[in-house]
Assembly symmetry: C2
Homo-oligomer: 411 residues x 2
C-alpha cells in the first residue's frame, strides 16, 4: 500500500488544551508507516476551502512541541458550516479536489458540535460519491456539551480555573465583617457544566453558601430574589455563579432582556450581561454590597492553571483519532469512556459523528438539586478527576507561549 | 528591659500576598528576645476597638505557615478611619486601654493609604499624651498608589496575573480570520498601574495592537473612537485595557455616566461598568465583534499564579517592620527602595506615614506615551522585575488554601 498524507485542522472556540490534541495527531501520524506528510489546515474548513494548507514539518519540532504549551488554536479556527451536499455539492467538489491535489486520505477535525457535523457531512459525501477518505472528529469544547463522550477535552481545564477563581473570590469576599454577595458570570449558552464546576470549591470551603444558576433550570426572578435573600439573611456572605445562558420559563435568554430586565430598560437595550442584571436586581431589592466578575474568554484560555489530566487526554484523543483512521474508521468521533471514578480510569472508542452533532449534552436533571440551585454528589464524582494536576508550562515572568500565526504569518 | 507584646492587623483590600507580610511579622517577632506574645487583631482597627484579639501562637505553626499560601486577609480586614483625635479622642483612649491591657508596645498595620493614616494618627496621639508605643505601617496594595516606596507588595502579583490574562485573551482573540476587539476592565480608581501592567504582554507578543486607557489621562469619547477605529482598520485585532477609574475632562468617572453614556440611558442608570460602555460604543460605531472581560476581584486574589518576587518582598517588609519597631522607630511605613533594575536589587527603609497617607502615587506623565494610550520603556523597566517567579502553593486539584476564619470562627 502506497503512502498517503493526512490533514488536521481546528474549529470552533479554542480551549486551553486544543493544541495538545493537534500535537497528538501530528506525533501519532508521523510515527505511522502509512502516512507520509502531515498537513495543517489554517482556520479550519473555511481556510482549507481556500487552500490555506501548510506542511507541518516545515515547522521545527521544538516549535511543534512548544505549541502544545500555548492556548488558542495554533492553526487558527473558524465558525463555518458546510451546506447540505444534497442541495449544493459545490464546496464538497472543491474540497475533494484539494484533498486529491494533496493526496489526503485522512482528515482530522478538532472541534465541537458543528465540527462533528462537518465530519459527518464530509464522510457521507465521500461515501455517496465513492471517494476514499477517513474522517475522524476529535472532541474539544469547554462547554462539555458533546454527546456520547464522558466529557470533552477543554472542559477539565476550564472547570479547574473557574473553581479556583471561585475559591479565591469567595475567600476575598469574606475578609470584612461587612458581608459580600459575589456574582460570577461564566460561559455556557445551553449546558451548565461550566457554572456547575464552580461547585467544586466545596471540597476546599465546605461551608460557603453557594447558589448556582444553570441554563438547564428555567430562571424565575422572584424565586431568585427569595433564594438570595434567604441565603443572605442566614449566611451573610453568598456566592452566586450564573451561566450566561440562563433563560426564563418561555425560553428567552435573560441576557437579552427577559422579565423585568426588559421592562426596566424602557425599550433600550441595557448594557452588560446577565451578571450585571443579577447584580442590579440584588442591589435594588436585597443588599448593596455586590461584586460582579465576568470571566469571559479567560475561561477557555487559562493554560497558566490548566488540568494535567485534561492536557494529557487532549493529546490522547488526537493520537487515538489517527489510530482509528488507520484502522479504516470514518465519520466517527473519538469518545472518552469512563471505566471508574476513583481511581479514575478511561478508555477510548469511536462513536458516530452523526449522533453527536444534532444535540447538546446537558447536566442530567437527577444531578441537579431539587431547588435547582446546586448540584448533587454525582456531579462531584464526575468532575473531580477531570481537574487534577497542573500543566507545567514554560514561564519567564509571563507564560512563554508561542504564536505560530505570528511566527509564520499563517493568517 | 522587660518583655512586651506586639499586635499585628490587616486593613483595606486584601492582596494575593498580604498574608506573607503577616507571616513575616509573626516570624520576626517570635525570634526577638524583646517581644513576648504576638497578638493578631481581627478585622483591623475596627475589630481591635471591639477587643477582637487573638494570641497568634494558639494557632499551630503549620497553619501559620500554610496561611501565607492563602489569598485574602487571614485575620480579616476593615475599612475604618479613626477620627481626628483633636476633635474626639474617645476611640484613642479605648484603643490605648486595650493596648495597656494586653501590654502591647509594638503595633504593625498592614495596609494602604488609609491604613498609613491610621499609623500616623495612633503614633501622633501616643506622642501627644506620652504613651509608649511603636507603630509601623506595612505597605500593601495592588493599586500600587503608595508614595515614597518604589512599589507596594501585592502589585507585582496582580500585574503578573493581569498581563498573563491579557496574553491568553489576546491569543484567543486571534484564532479566527474574523477580527476581534478585546476590552478588558481592570481595577484602579485613580492610579493606572494595574491597567499599565497589561502592557507587559509586549515582551511575549510584540506586534499586538494594544490601547491602554488610564485614569491619569482624561478620557475623551471622540478621541477614543478615532483611536480604536484606526487601530482596527490597520491591525484588525485590537486589545483594549481600560481602568475602571477613567474620567472625562471634568473629572467625572465614565463608569457613573459621563459623556454620551449618560445621555443614552435616558436618565436611567445603565447596568454594567466602564468596560460594558466601551464595548457598547465600539459595537455602535465601529465593529460588532467585541468581547468584554471584567476581572473584578480576581486581580487581587489570584495567588494561583502570583509573583515569587512579590511574595518574598511581602514577607520581608513584614520582617523589616518588626526590626524597625525594635529599633525604636514609630509613625513610619516600611518602604522598598530600588537600587537597580537589572539585576533587580532593593533595600528597605522607613518613611513618614504622614507623608504617605495624603496623596496617591500616579504613573509619572513622562512614562505615558504622547497620545496617552500606552506606556514607555520606563514602565517596562520598572514593572518587569516585579512579576518574576511563581509562588509554589500547595495544590490538590484546586489550591489548598486554608481559612483561619472558618477554622477558628474568627469573625
Amino acid at each position: 500500500m502506497s503512502k498517503a498524507n493526512c490533514l488536521v485542522a481546528q474549529s470552533g472556540g479554542p480551549t486551553a488544551v486544543i493544541n495538545s490534541s493537534l500535537y497528538g495527531v501530528i506525533m501519532e501520524a508521523s510515527n505511522s508507516s502509512k502516512i507520509d506528510k502531515v498537513y495543517g489546515g489554517i482556520n479550519g474548513i473555511e481556510g482549507i476551502l481556500k487552500k490555506k494548507i501548510i506542511d507541518i514539518f516545515e515547522i521545527p519540532y521544538d516549535k511543534i512541541n512548544h505549541m502544545k504549551f500555548t492556548p488558542s488554536a495554533a492553526l487558527g479556527s473558524c465558525r463555518y458550516r458546510l451546506k447540505d451536499y444534497k442541495e449544493n455539492d459545490e464546496e464538497y467538489k472543491k474540497l475533494f479536489d484539494i484533498f486529491s491535489e494533496y493526496n489526503i486520505k485522512y482528515f482530522f477535525y478538532i472541534g465541537g458540535n458543528d465540527s462533528m457535523e462537518t465530519v459527518y457531512k464530509i464522510h457521507s459525501y465521500a461515501q455517496e460519491v465513492g471517494l476514499e477518505i477517513n474522517v475522524i472528529g476529535i472532541p474539544k469544547t469547554i462547554d462539555n456539551d458533546l454527546l456520547l463522550t464522558d466529557h470533552s477535552p477543554g472542559f477539565g481545564s476550564a472547570a479547574k480555573f473557574i473553581a479556583t477563581v471561585t475559591l479565591e473570590l469567595a475567600l476575598d469576599g469574606e475578609a470584612y465583617e461587612t458581608k459580600t454577595i459575589n456574582v460570577m458570570e461564566v460561559m455556557g449558552r445551553n449546558a451548565g457544566w461550566l457554572a456547575a464546576s464552580s461547585a467544586l470549591v466545596k471540597d476546599k470551603l465546605p461551608d460557603l453558601r453557594h447558589l448556582i444558576y444553570l441554563p438547564e433550570v428555567p430562571f424565575n426572578e422572584e424565586k431568585f430574589l427569595e433564594e438570595v435573600n434567604q441565603a443572605y439573611k442566614e449566611y451573610g456572605n453568598v456566592f452566586i455563579t450564573v451561566s450566561e445562558g440562563i433563560k426564563d420559563e418561555s425560553g428567552n435568554y435573560i441576557e437579552t432582556g427577559a422579565g423585568s430586565y426588559k421592562q426596566d430598560s424602557f425599550g433600550h437595550r441595557q448594557l452588560g450581561g446577565v451578571g450585571d442584571y443579577l447584580e442590579y436586581l440584588i442591589k435594588q431589592k436585597i443588599y448593596k454590597r455586590v461584586r460582579m466578575t465576568r470571566l469571559g474568554f479567560t475561561q477557555r484560555s487559562a493554560l497558566h492553571f490548566a488540568s494535567q489530566v485534561d492536557f494529557e487526554e487532549a493529546e490522547k484523543v488526537g493520537r487515538k483519532a489517527v489510530q482509528f483512521a488507520l484502522n479504516g474508521e470514518s465519520g466517527k468521533m473519538v469518545a472518552i469512556i469512563r471505566d471508574n471514578d476513583d481511581p479514575y480510569v478511561v478508555h477510548f472508542e469511536t462513536v458516530d459523528a452523526e449522533k453527536v452533532c444534532n444535540e447538546e449534552k446537558l447536566i442530567p436533571t437527577s444531578w441537579i438539586s431539587e431547588d435547582g440551585t446546586y448540584v448533587k454528589d454525582e456531579f462531584f464524582k464526575y468532575a473531580r478527576p477531570l481537574i487534577q494536576g497542573e500543566v507545567k508550562i514554560p514561564i519567564d515572568g509571563l507564560p512563554n507561549y508561542i504564536s505560530l500565526k505570528h511566527q509564520y504569518n499563517l493568517w
